[in-house]
Each structure stands twice: as C-alpha cells, then as structure tokens.
C-alpha cells in the first residue's frame, strides 16, 4: 500500500468477525466494522474529509478558518486536515468532556471554545441559546469561515452511503447484513450506511443506539439530543434503543480484552447494544441458515482512560505502595511527634531543623516560614516510597496547612526509622494566627 497523502488512507477499513464464543449468538455471525483504524483514529475521518475536501482550495485562498461544533473525533480529523492545508481550525462545543481529546486537539493546533453551562437563575432577558448565537455570528457577512456543519451537512451522510456501506456489502461477498446497528451521534454514519444497505436489500433491519438521558457516553447523543440533529430522521431506524455508560464500559472491556479490538466506549456501547438486541432474536431462529449483523467500532480506547478511571477506578487499580501514609494505623498517626508553634520557634533557633513545607508551590511562593524547603505532598509521597530522603541525624519539622497531613508523614518517617521528625501543630495556619513571621522571597 503506497499513498501520496494520508487522506488516501481514509476508508477501506476491515470488517472483523467476532468470535461466537465471546458473544454467544448461535445462528448470527457478528461483524465489527473497524472505523477506529482510519488514519486519524475514528469513523469521523470519512465525514470530515468528504465535507471539507471541496472547500479547501477556496478557503485557503480567502484565508478562512475551518469551524465545526464538535466535541471530539470530527474536530480531531478536521484539525489535521485543516493543518495539512495551511488553514486554522476552531471547534465550538458544549459537550467536550474528555480531557485527553481536548489536549490532543490543542496539540493538533486547534482552537477550542467551550459554550457556557446552563443558567442557575432563569434569565428572561436571555432570548437565544448559545448555539443559535453561534450560528448567527457565523452567518454574518464578512466572516471568513468554512463551516463544515456536520449535523446538517448531507456530505456527512454521503461519505458513508458511498464508502462505509458499500464496503460492508463487498466484504460480505455482495450481501447486505440482516442487521445493522450503530450509535447515533451526528446520525451521518447510521443514515448513510442504512441507505446503502437498503438499496442493496430493503429487508435490512437498522437499529439506532442512543445514550440514556442521565448518563454520558462520549460521541453518542441521547434520545432528546438526536432531535437537534438535522441529519436525524426517525424513519431511518426500525428501532431506537438506549445504552448506558455501564454498557459502554462493559462492552469496551469485552472488545479490548477478549477480541483484541482496542475500541473506545462508543464501540463498546454498540457491541453491547447489538448483542442485547440480537440475543432474543437468535434464540428464536431455527434451521441451518446463518444470519449476519454488523456494528460499528467508531474509535479507539486510548483517549478514554480518564473516563474509565472516573467511573470504574478498580479497572485501573494499583496495589498500595510500600512506605505509604495510607498504610498507617490511627494509633501510629496519633503517636506522631507534634510541636506547638512557640516550641517550634525555639527549636528552630536552637537546632536549626530542616523545615519542609508540604503545600503547593503556589501557596508556598506567596507566604512561608523563612528558610523552609517546599516539597509538595504529591512529590514527597513519591520520594519516601523509596526510603528516607534525608539522613537520620538531620532533625526535621514538617508543616502543612492545619497539621493533619504533616502528622501523618511524621508518623510514616518515624516508622521508617527516623529518630526526630516533628509535625507543626495546627500547621501554617496556627503559625500565622500566633503572629509568627511568614515571608515571601
């Protein structure tokens, strides 16, 4: 495979059979269309390229900015495409909740504007919603924008009608699958693929998967939000079913761990929704004929580790570290040596112990005990994991805001064999309240 441009590598993604031992369907062959293997990492590469391609030369001539309302994958693809063509890209969104995607977009050179949250006090003078205002601003004459408009642009659907759909048919030896299942975001892929498959065989059943309302699955709209999408037509789908964030993560785990498909939560949601929909149908099927079903894996797992960590921290759990404050007993913490402010001042003058301030550098820089060293607690925590970070003959005074955290570390260092570690009682706050000097230098 030799290409002249990375955009030529968009499309022609593999259709991979899922092992029946994993999904448990007896008479239905289940296939995953691996859109995650597009060059920029998702199903949106097709739409982004199809929507932007024709307008790029003109946009470049006029020095326009490519603009899209996108929370992730479309923005990612457009940012790359814009960059390759010497254009800047701006994403406006109120849905960007995946920090890794945000950072990646910044790396790609995108400008991101996040729309404000909802008003806490209803404001009757606020006549327009932010999205309407955005469109009004965009449509004002004289604005140099190439707005790809993925939720309303027919070229989004077309990319799948002429690409994704026919590829599926070709890979199934010229037959359309009996079922096609897809998560609904812009509705572009589900609508386009459905059109292509139905043109081939009108009996194809199309199932749209939407998120549960109180849940959040990246890339999927919920049953109300799909109505806001111009490309969404309820008639496209034979059924619309909802999937939860739990389904998405469960499905993702199955694909990742058992099928070797490094799918993100949207692909996981599609897999779970598919198996759930087909299970009862499969149970009713008789005879020797095999049926087939296709679902879309729209992007990759790597960007969603934070999402998983937030919802299922146990999946990313690590064993507790040696020399950790979390392993201390209450008795040990209570036994830590503490020293009151007045005593501490005398001790400092007499024996010049090392004073370690565990607060953040931001707070330390503003005000601290003269001569103290700032080792932020997170860093200190890592330091002591390997052993004592100073000699045993060096007396140490630990200080934190209220003297709780420093007491824990004093107990830990004592347990590790240090003979003279003390914690400043009441912390820097008690120090300040006692009128003891704090400096900024």
């Amino acid at each position: 495979m030799r290409y002249d441009s990375i955009t030529e590598a968009i499309g022609n993604t593999p259709l991979v059979r899922i092992d029946p031992a994993v999904h448990g369907l007896r008479r239905i062959d289940l296939y995953a269309k691996l859109e995650m293997l597009n060059p920029f990492g998702s199903v949106k590469d097709r739409a982004a390229w199809n929507m932007a391609r024709a307008g790029l030369p003109g946009a470049r001539e006029r020095g326009e900015t490519v603009v899209e309302l996108s929370s992730g994958n479309t923005a990612k693809a457009l940012a790359v495409i814009a960059g390759m063509h010497g254009l800047s890209f701006k994403s406006v969104t109120n849905r960007m909740r995946i920090p890794e995607v945000k950072d990646l977009l910044l790396l790609l050179g995108a400008e991101i504007e996040e729309l404000p949250g909802r008003s806490e006090c209803l404001d009757p003078t606020d006549t327009e919603d932010p999205l309407t205002l955005f469109h009004q601003r965009l449509n004002q004459s004289g604005n140099a924008h190439l707005h790809t408009d993925q939720y309303f642009n027919a070229l989004n659907t077309e990319a799948h009608e002429t690409g994704t759909g026919p590829e599926i048919v070709a890979d199934l030896d010229g037959r359309a699958p009996d079922w096609f299942l897809a998560c609904v975001g812009t509705a572009g892929s589900s609508t386009g693929v459905a059109r292509a498959l139905r043109a081939h065989d009108p009996a194809v059943r199309v199932i749209g998967l939407v998120g549960e309302k109180s849940d959040f699955i990246p890339g999927i709209r919920n049953i109300d939000e799909v109505h806001e999408v111009g490309l969404f037509d309820p008639a496209t789908y034979d059924t619309i079913e909802s999937v939860s964030a739990d389904d998405a993560i469960d499905g993702m785990l199955t694909l990742v761990r058992r099928c070797g498909i490094l799918a993100g939560p949207t692909g996981g949601a599609a897999y779970r929704g598919t198996v759930r929909h087909l299970k009862p149908i499969d149970a009713e099927l008789t005879g020797p004929d095999r049926r087939s079903a296709v679902f879309i894996v729209c992007d990759r797992v790597e960007s969603y580790l934070g999402y998983v960590k937030q919802r299922r921290p146990e999946l990313l759990g690590r064993p507790p570290a040696r020399n950790s404050v979390t392993a201390l007993t209450d008795t040990e913490v209570r036994a830590a040596q503490v020293i009151e402010v007045a005593e501490a001042q005398k001790w400092l003058a007499a024996e010049r112990p090392l004073v370690i301030d565990l607060r953040s550098s931001f707070a330390y820089a503003a005000l601290h005990i003269d001569g103290s060293v700032n080792i932020v607690d997170e860093l200190f925590d890592e330091l002591v994991r390997g052993g004592l970070p100073f000699g045993k003959r060096q007396p140490v005074l630990l200080a934190c805001p209220v003297g709780e955290q420093s007491a824990r570390y004093a107990a830990l260092l004592t347990r590790m064999g240090h003979p003279d570690v003390r914690s400043l009682a009441g912390g820097i706050i008690a120090w300040r309240d006692a009128g003891a000097p704090l400096v900024r230098d």
Binding site: K102, E113, G117, R118, E120, H227, A363, I428, I429
Partner: protein, 495 residues
C-alpha cells in the same frame, strides 16, 4: 408516545413531608389566615447551614456561609440563622436593616448587589463587609467614609471575566463585577484609598450550573489574591458566591421522561403538555429541534452542599491541585452565598382550590386563591407538582389521575400558576388545598405583588412540638429563636 400521567413529584425531606401530611393543621392555618399562605420551617435552614459547615470542615476551611437574604423575605429564617453557624448577605438597605434589627452583628453581615448611597452609608456605619461591584462603588464608599468620618470598611472586590489558557471557556455575559483584566487600576484605586478602605479579599458570582466555569473563576481569584498581596494588602477571604442549586424533584426518571415528552410535543409527535403548546424555549424548525430548554434542571443528583464539596474537590484548571486544598494551603477563608440551596426544604406555599371547571375538550381548569406571582415557579422555570391536601379526607371510590391547568386569581389571560398541564392523582374539590413544596428559595415571595388588590400571602413559621407532637405555629414576624414561655423566677428582691 407516552400516554400515562407525567408526574413531577417534589422531593420532600422528612420535616416538610410530615408537614404536608398534616392536613387538618394546614387547613386550620389557611382558614384562619387566608389563601395564599406561606409556611416556613426555620429549623430546617439551621440544619442546611450545618450541612454546608460540614463541607467546610471536610476541607478544613474556615470562613462564612452567608444566606442570600433576597431568596426569601422571611424574618423567622433570618432570626433562626442568627443562632446557627451562619451569616447573611444583604442586597438592599431594607435587607440590611432587617438583618441588623433581627440579631445579626456586623461581623456576620455582607452587603452585596447594586448599592445606593444610604445602603453604603449604613453598611460602613455599622461595620459590615462590603462586596464591591467596581471602581465607582469603591470611590463612592471611600468618599462617604472620609466625609462622614466612618470606620474603615472591609471590602471584597467582585471580579468577572476570568479566562484560562488552552480551551477558551465562553462565559455568559454579566452586568456585575470588574473584569480581572482591569484588576490593576482597581488596585491603584485601593492604594490611593488605603486609609479609607480595607480590602479583605476577592469575590465572584457566576450564573451557571457548570462547575468548570466556577473552577476557572476560583483559580482566577486565587491569583488575584496574590496581586493584592504584592501591593502590600493582607487579604484573607475568597467569596465564591452561590448557585449551588437545589434538586426539586424526587425521581430522575420522571424528569427524564417529562423532558423527552416535552421535546416530542414540540416536534408535534404527541399532544401538547402545556397551555397553548408553549415549548419552554424549544421550538421545531424544519423537522429539527431548536432552541434551548429554559427550565431549571429540576432533578439534580448533585446540588447544594454536595455541589460545593464537588467544586472544592475539583482540580484547579492550571494549578492542578484541588481548589479546596489550594484555598487551605494559601491560608484563605472561604465565603459562600447560597440562597436557594440554604432555603432548600424550608417552606411551603398553600393555595385553596376555589373552582374546578370542566371543559368540552382538554384538561379541566382548577382555579386557585393565588396567582402566578405568589408562587413564582414559572418565572424561575421550576416544574414541580403541587401536593393535594384534602379538606375532608380522601373521597370514596376509585381515584383517577387527571391533567389540569392551574388558573390564578387575576383577571389576566397570562395568569396561569404554571403553563404546564399539571397531573394530580385525582381531581381536586373546592376547599382542598394545593401545597407547593420547597418554595422558600426565590419562589415564595420574590415576585409577590398586590396586583388587583388580591391579598399577598401571609407567612407563618412552624415547628414540631417536643417529641414530634403537634405542630406549633406563629406569625413569621413573631418568631424568635428562643423558648417562648420560660418561667420567670421571682426571687422576691433577694439576691
């Protein structure tokens, strides 16, 4: 299409739930004092303040929880708070006089909002902290202090227009505060008035449900505190305003279902759910749903003290550490101004049913001795079912859920207590009461007027008797947080 009754049952804490279950007591109150009637539960607000305090304790933070007085005009709520670990923020001369007169000392009062000269003068005269909106207000205050030889007032600087690097968070426009970009000139002003003004910190208040926007603002305040310090001031407090929210509804599923059906109704896929097909901000355009739902997010899993806890636990956008930790490490006090959230579950608005009018088509009209201004749920976008408080016990026979429209007592087409078709477990009868739960935060008296000379709701304060015995009540203004009739021992002149 969903054809069942679309209930939006209110969330009821035990105290308010018990009160709503005491039908004879509530009828006795309305018989005596008329409809509409506001009923307040002062003990609840003390409990709520304690909830906020426990969040402060969890984050080891000092400071104050200021009740935003404008949320309710009640005297009993304010008087009860004087004995709790709480303070009060006042937004007018009247509220300041009320707070001073009802037992708050100046160290527990903060003046906020737009201020006229008399308000500024009394604030400075009495020594309350002034949350200043901008340079104009600071100049005016400094002038008053010098001309009238007043004590040097503590001031907080209300800031706005916070920005962060990386993704740009667009903020709703605000008329209040000084942009952080103009902090320099503001500090110059404070330096000029060093003798007449004592800057103790900075403040923000953002009208948003988004914790991300608040996190950006809070971090911006921490940086502004540093700027104050560089000019030689000793700031102590960061005031993060309020807007922590209230969860009004008992069931998330009811809210989800209702809002989905509302969208379907706007799209023409089911009969309307509102008077005249009103869409609460949504409209259909070429088969697509447009606009934004202008409703209060009435079911909120995280609200009030829980929201504050989550905000303080959230990492600062650029400094990385949790915001609560940064406040603590920087030795700053935290000020909060919850209004709605502190008044959560503290009140009930009662209205008598006057007439039930059946129509040929569509839901029946239920006419109430109350109007939309008496319980301004609609103004605040809060959708919540009233609780039916029967007059003569439940009627015999099977009960049918009904959808009705609630008409007010004004001769105005617009006077619907809510534009929503309200579902009730049965048709009410004249003489029954409808109890609008949880109205103490902004909904009870914020918009109440004497339009058409209809009565404005009187207010009573109620508390449970010892050991959960009968309810006791008094007029709101007669409430004091003391035991009413302690015996006075007459020592007969002996020592």
């Amino acid at each position: 299409m969903d054809t069942g009754p679309l209930y939006l049952e209110p969330r009821l804490a035990p105290r308010l739930g018990a009160l709503l279950g005491s039908a004879p007591f509530l009828h006795m109150l309305v018989d005596a004092l008329g409809s509409p009637l506001g009923v307040l539960l002062p003990d609840q607000i003390a409990e709520n303040a304690e909830g906020f305090r426990s969040v402060y304790r969890r984050h080891r933070l000092g400071g104050q929880v200021f009740f935003a007085h404008k949320a309710n005009r009640s005297r009993s709520l304010v008087r009860r708070l004087t004995t709790a670990d709480a303070a009060v923020d006042v937004a007018s001369l009247g509220e300041l006089r009320h707070a001073l007169g009802d037992g708050f000392t100046a160290d527990r009062i903060m003046a906020t909002g737009p201020k006229d000269p008399a308000f500024l003068w009394l604030a400075a005269r009495s020594g309350v902290t002034v949350n200043a909106d901008g340079p104009g207000e600071l100049e005016a205050l400094a002038g008053l202090v010098r001309r009238h030889d007043l004590p040097r007032p503590k001031v907080l600087l209300r800031l706005c227009g916070f920005e962060t690097s990386g993704p740009r968070m667009l903020s709703r426009r605000s008329r209040f505060g000084t942009s952080v970009k103009a902090l320099g000139p503001l500090l110059d002003l404070l330096e000029r008035h060093r003798d007449s003004l004592d800057p103790v910190g900075v403040a923000y208040h953002l009208d948003t449900t988004s914790p991300d926007e608040k996190a950006i603002a809070l971090e911006g305040c921490l940086r502004a505190m540093d700027d104050l310090r560089l000019r030689g001031f000793q700031p102590r407090a960061v005031d993060i305003g309020g807007g922590f929210g209230v969860g009004y509804l008992a069931h998330a599923a009811q809210w989800d279902r209702y809002t989905s059906e509302l969208a379907a109704a706007v799209m023409g896929r089911r009969p309307p759910l509102t008077w005249g097909g009103h869409g609460y901000g949504l409209h259909a355009e070429g088969g697509t749903l447009r606009g934004a739902l202008s409703l209060y997010p009435a079911h909120r899993p995280v609200a009030g003290a829980g929201y504050l806890d989550a905000l303080l636990s959230q990492p600062a956008p650029t400094l990385g550490r949790p915001l609560g930790t940064l406040l603590l490490e920087s030795l700053y006090d935290l000020y909060t101004e919850p209004g709605r959230a502190l008044a959560d579950q503290c009140g009930l608005s009662l209205a008598r049913v006057l007439e039930v009018r059946h129509r040929d088509a569509g839901p029946a009209f239920v006419r109430l001795a109350m109007n939309a201004n008496d319980v301004s749920l609609e103004d605040h976008g809060i959708l919540m079912d009233p609780v039916l408080v029967p007059r003569d016990g439940e009627p015999a026979g099977p009960q049918e859920p009904v959808g009705v429209h609630l008409m007010g007592n004004l001769c105005l087409e617009a006077d619907l207590v809510t534009r929503r078709t309200v579902f009730l477990p049965r048709l009410p009868r004249p003489g029954d009461l409808l109890g609008f739960a949880n109205t103490a935060g902004y909904c009870m008296d914020f918009s109440a007027t004497r339009a058409q000379q209809q009565p404005v709701a009187r207010k009573v304060a109620v508390r449970e008797g010892p050991g959960g015995s009968a309810w006791r009540w008094c007029l709101d203004e007669e409430y004091w947080p003391i035991e009413e009739y302690r015996p006075i021992t007459d020592s007969g002149g002996r020592a």
